[in-house]
Amino acid sequence: MMKPFLFGAAALAAALTTVVTPAAAAEPTAICYNCPPEWADWASQLKAIKADLGIAVPFDNKNSGQAMAAMLAEKDKPVADVAYLGGPVGIQAKDAGIVTPYKPAGWADIPDGMKDADGNWFAIHSGTLGFFVNSEALGGKPVPQSWADLLKPDYAGMVGYLDPTSAAVGYVGAVAVNLALGGDYGSFDKAVGWFKDLQKNQPIVPKQTSYARVLSGEIPILIDYDFNAYRARYTDKAPVAFVIPTEGTVSVPYVMALVKNGPNPDNGKKVLDYVLSDKGQTLWANAFMRPVRAEAMSPETAAKFLPAADYARARPVDLVRMAEAQKGFMDRYQAEVK
């Protein structure tokens, strides 16, 4: 009685293996770490890559820190071909020796300071940090306007921010609040103090992109980028506001890099060329990112952004100093913010 069972199981396993495996292996692929469909509208970008280049890029919901950790653990035999990383993480990836230089088509158009001199990493677009607010989930409270507002008891249990020890956007938030409250890259006293005060309001601290949780009202206020908020507002037609805090904030480039010894380097390079091409850059602009080649932004899209007067409160980050300060901030955050 067991024999048929055994044979059946074996046969089923064999059948499934033959059915499932070849289909996945047949088409040209490139593996991108940290290309989440719900972030920066990677969904549309990956769809366009598939349509125009014929290269399938499976989406991947790691954050920058998780992508770094995975690439380090897999250093001897990488799984990924390219990686998309929050600004300062690109520098760390270069220092860790897990990426390799590549100057994509369109390299010359990237402004200095937005790329590594050798091509170890380069920016593809940037975003401005602020409050991504679901105004219907506030329970009648006004939309917060400043970092100080978020500390008010009114917003207890409503504020979310991504874990600064894991996600790039979390660390960007720390830098933003630190600079806004008068700190600098040398001392994170202001940010650590602010996070300590915020803990009294019982914040929600996810590790992964939480776009949908804001839309569903589970996280009414998320410290996040403008592009996610505009997408919620204009594409998903959600009752969403984006706020650039009165004390100020930062804008941060997001970079991509070619993984050293990746399994499909040629496909990876094509993907990198594509995200900087006219088509790719327009896609980013349509998804409300500031494309690194600024001319890709159409006037219609630009009109949907907050007024330039608000954006005047956002200053660009110093990627190098930001990368240097990261470890020290993380240690303090882990030790002091509870």
């Binding site: 009685m1 067991m2 024999k3 069972f5 055994l6 199981a9 074996a10 089923l12 396993a13 499934l16 293996t17 499932v20 495996t21 996945a24 692929t29 593996i31 991108c32 770490y33 989440p36 469909p37 719900e38 972030w39 499976p58 989406f59 991947d60 919901n61 653990a73 897999e74 001897d76 035999k77 799984v79 990924a80 219907e136 996810p206 590790k207 992964q208 992109t209 939480s210 776009y211 949908a212 949780r213 839309l215 569903s216 009202g217 589970e218 399994p263």
Partner: protein
């Protein structure tokens, strides 16, 4: 099963109420999530209408994860049967200090957190061939984690029957070892094998702790997809995905129920 039903005092109703409360704790969120998966807009509520669109979207985007999970579960079952049943037999025939030690050792992958096992596998075998990006890498982790459950389920049944006497009887009729194993040992512990098999299948389909580190973008399993969808997709999609998962495990759970109701070894 002694019936005390003739005296249903306040104690009975109190306990019934308590049990119903526990049941509500377990089932109400399941019902809520199933409903959310079928609701057009959960934030608006049921008045937004019911729809299958989220379930369709899940099947469109995530059917690969569902197939891969089934594939791994079946392969994992085959491996644990081939490895576990003979091992359980060996342990049952020679109970003693060494058998106990082997049993304890086999339990280790259950005790060591899955993250650690996965990390250990990556640093040791991550650079061997294409293993890292193959589904076999996840299979290895699942076999390690589920093997003790198979061994113990089979061992529990083997411990309650007198294998030696049964086998001696068969041997005296001239049956060789393979024949004895196939016609005497296996049939007599099939309830244990079946219980272990169901356990292995359900554990493998639901495994997340190991798989979260072992998977690559090309080898996403169902729980990895679930975690993805909870974290970053609409709550309706996460719920619809959960609904699909519920439907997948119902058959094996009903079998398990039947098995435990029918009771001990003999099926």
């Amino acid at each position: 099963m002694h019936s005390l039903s003739n005296r249903r005092g306040w104690g009975f109703w109190l306990q019934l109420g308590f049990t119903l409360l526990v049941c509500a704790l377990l089932t109400v969120p399941m019902a809520m999530s199933m409903l959310a998966g079928l609701t057009a807009n959960y934030f608006v509520g049921l008045k937004s209408g019911l729809t299958l669109r989220w379930v369709e979207e899940v099947l469109r985007v995530y059917s690969g994860t569902i197939l891969l999970s089934l594939q791994i579960a079946v392969a994992c079952l085959a491996c644990t049967l081939v490895l576990g049943v003979p091992a359980a037999y060996a342990l049952a025939r020679r109970p003693g200090r060494i058998a106990r030690l082997v049993e304890e050792l086999l339990m280790m992958p259950v005790a060591i957190p899955g993250l650690a096992t996965a990390l250990a596998l990556i640093v040791t075998y991550g650079s061997v061939g294409d293993l890292r990006s193959s589904w076999l890498f996840i299979l290895i982790g699942h076999v390690l984690f589920t093997l003790p459950f198979m061994v113990r389920a089979v061992l529990a049944v083997m411990g309650s029957i007198d294998l030696t006497t049964l086998e001696e009887g068969a041997a005296s009729l001239g049956a060789g070892f393979l024949r004895r194993f196939a016609t005497v040992v296996l049939p007599n512990c099939r309830s244990g094998i079946l219980a272990g098999s169901l356990m292995v299948l359900t554990l493998s389909v639901g495994e997340f702790n190991l798989t979260w580190l072992l998977h690559t973008p090309l080898t996403k399993t169902l729980p990895v997809g679930l975690a993805d969808s909870y974290a970053s997709l609409r709550i309706e999609i996460g719920s619809a995905y959960t609904l699909v998962f519920f439907l997948m495990i119902v058959p094996s759970l009903i079998l398990m129920q039947g098995l435990s109701r029918r009771g001990r070894p003999s099926v």
